[in-house]
């Protein structure tokens, strides 16, 4: 029963969700909205489990003085501190907002800004002309990059329009690049349909965990 019940629920709700797309009636859209609300409610309850997991993990690190236990202390202090301030003073509380705006937001932005450096290092490796294909990639990248900046216009502005970097760049982006992206997109669509079918029919059961074993 522990295996059959979830499979039955998935079969019923999976089929409903698939056919709901073809039924525009308000009853159908309201049911769809209602099920989505259930997902949110389940997610909120699961957050309690998630925070429990987080606290348990870091508590054990601190307790057994595992390497990096100092970071775990910072995590627990910040978690309890922010939660307490939010619960006591509300999320519009001045201290809560200050900690968010001047603590969390700059740290998050700093992490995001690292992406620029990682892009540079990854591009350096990707664009090394070791094979014919890598050389083509390098050439395409150079043309697209120059076609997007004013120096590209200065370098090739005197050439006939089809030979200018900006035109070649646009061609590369909007013709071969878009064609490849659409091919992947079609594959993804069919892959999603096949995966959904496998789950609805109970062929794919790994998501059930231990109960999914046949």
């Amino acid at each position: 029963m522990k295996r059959e019940l979830p499979l039955m629920i998935v079969l019923i709700f999976g089929t409903f969700m698939a056919f709901q797309y073809f039924v525009p009636h308000r009853i159908s859209s309201d049911l769809y909205q209602e099920f989505n609300n259930w997902t949110i409610i389940i997610g909120i309850f699961a957050m309690v489990v998630g925070i429990g997991s987080l606290i348990s993990l870091h508590y054990n690190r601190i307790k057994f003085k595992k390497p990096g236990w100092g970071y775990s202390t910072v995590t627990i202090v910040c978690l309890i501190g922010m939660m307490s301030i939010g619960l006591i003073g509300g999320t519009e509380n001045d201290l809560f907002l200050k900690l968010y705006r001047h603590g969390l937001a700059p740290v998050t932005s700093t992490m995001f800004s690292l992406l620029a450096f990682f892009i540079a290092s990854a591009a350096y490796r990707a664009f090394r002309a070791r094979t014919i294909l890598a050389t083509l990639l390098l050439l395409a990248a150079v043309v697209v990059m120059l076609g997007r900046v004013p120096i590209g216009e200065i370098l090739t502005g005197w050439l006939p329009r089809p030979l200018q970097f900006s035109e070649i760049s646009n061609f590369l982006l909007y013709v071969p690049n878009t064609a490849a992206k659409r091919a992947i997109f079609i594959g993804v669509g069919l892959g999603v349909a096949a995966m959904s079918l496998k789950i609805i029919l109970g062929i794919e059961r790994t998501w059930l965990g231990g109960e999914g074993r046949k």
Partner: protein
């Protein structure tokens, strides 16, 4: 007395002057603008209900060359005799209006007038019409037909596979490398990092990540290696815990399962990224798997893994992130390969049957694209119009 006489005379003279200076007016008649043409009211097709579409022919004065009008006034009532309530004033040039938020099953009557300088034309009446929701979206029929065809094809191949038919599936380097990568971790005595992405348990890519995790965890359990699985979503964490636990049980080693290796971090994108980066740099995993939905953090994670010297296998259906993974990872499952991975890894005939259905689905899509291109080129737009799903 003299003063009094002077006042009378001056008043008389002033009156003569004022009278003489008056310019006689021509009499100006301000006429209302022409009324709007025929008004048609109908239920909006393929909608949830509660909406009517009101259409009318424009007023004869509503032209750029003519005197022009200021706009149209739309009135609505539940009774033909009124009272009518002004519900909207639309600018000149308008020819239709969608009235929303109505009660299904209730008849509505409309009146339209054109207006110019606050003068209204004669009223044109329309209706009654009754709003209602539809039980079938007629414009989506081609999708329904294709969906049913795809399901039938998949079932046919599954039945065929169950009957013992062997399908050829082309090898995918990223999937072939999974066993090798787990073996490497075992030899090096280092853990495996499995990142299920930023998706929720409702995303198909995340569900595909669960299935791959199941296969990976089974191998990990067989080889007595450790798998670390940091999570962004608590529901995903719960499912991942069950999947890993199930994998350990399936190879007869339930005691080896360590629940603390599958844990939740945070639901903030970059704090999550920072935490996973920290794990990569501290634990130095031999192999990193990035499977599921990824956004801007994809390259940050993959580059950190590269710096740590891990073998990296990524799989995502996020088109924008695929090039980043291609740059920084050793193997990448692109788009549909992520969904196909579980079939490849399990080699179960039923799973392989759906792969064949996918291939035939691609054949159909390519044929439809070719037919659509040819028909549109010769000017037959009805074929491409079939796929206008509204």
């Amino acid at each position: 007395m003299k003063v009094f006489l002077v006042l009378i005379v001056s008043c008389w003279l002033t009156d003569i002057w004022l009278f003489a200076s008056e310019v006689p007016f021509d009499s100006v008649t301000v006429e209302p603008p022409s009324m709007a043409g025929e008004v048609l009211v109908r239920d909006k097709p393929n909608d949830t209900g509660g909406t009517l579409i009101i259409q009318w022919a424009i007023s004869a004065d509503d032209t750029a060359a003519g005197a022009g009008i200021d706009g149209y006034m739309v009135y609505r009532s539940k009774n033909v005799d009124g009272p009518y309530k002004l519900i909207r004033v639309l600018p000149s040039g308008s020819i239709s209006f969608e009235d929303t938020g109505l009660d299904d099953g209730q008849a509505y009557y409309y009146r339209i007038s054109s207006v110019k300088d606050q003068l209204e034309s004669q009223i044109v009446a329309g209706g009654p019409a009754i709003p209602s929701g539809q039980w079938y979206h007629t414009k989506r029929t081609p999708i329904l037909v294709l969906m049913i065809l795809f399901c039938i094809t998949a079932v046919v191949f599954i039945v065929k596979a169950k009957g013992g038919y062997t399908f050829y599936v082309r090898p995918i380097a990223g999937i072939d490398a999974v066993d090798e990568a787990i073996g490497r971790a075992t030899e090096m005595g280092r853990p495996i990092l499995y990142v299920p992405g930023l998706g929720t348990a409702a995303d198909v890519a995340t569900i595909a990540a669960f299935t791959i995790l199941g296969r990976v965890a089974r191998k990990v359990a067989e080889y007595n290696t450790r798998v670390i699985c940091p999570n962004y979503d608590p529901v995903v964490m719960t499912v991942c815990q069950e999947v890993v636990k199930g994998a350990y049980s399936s190879v007869g080693k339930p005691d080896m399962y360590e629940p603390k290796d599958v844990f939740f971090i945070t639901q903030d994108q970059f704090p999550y990224t920072a935490a996973v980066n920290g794990i990569i740099l501290r634990e130095k995993p031999a192999t990193n798997f990035y499977m599921g939905m990824f956004y801007a953090e994809s390259l940050v994670l993959a580059e950190t893994g590269f710096i740590a010297g891990s073998i990296q296998i990524a799989g995502t259906d996020q088109l924008i992130q695929i090039p980043f993974f291609v740059c920084a990872c050793d193997y990448v499952l692109m788009g549909e390969e992520l969904y196909a991975a579980s079939a490849y890894l399990s080699k179960e005939p039923q799973q392989l049957g759906t792969l064949k259905a996918q291939d035939w689905g691609k054949v159909v899509v390519v044929l439809l694209i070719i037919i659509g291109t040819v028909f549109s080129t010769v000017g037959w737009s009805w074929f491409s119009a079939l796929f206008d799903i509204g």
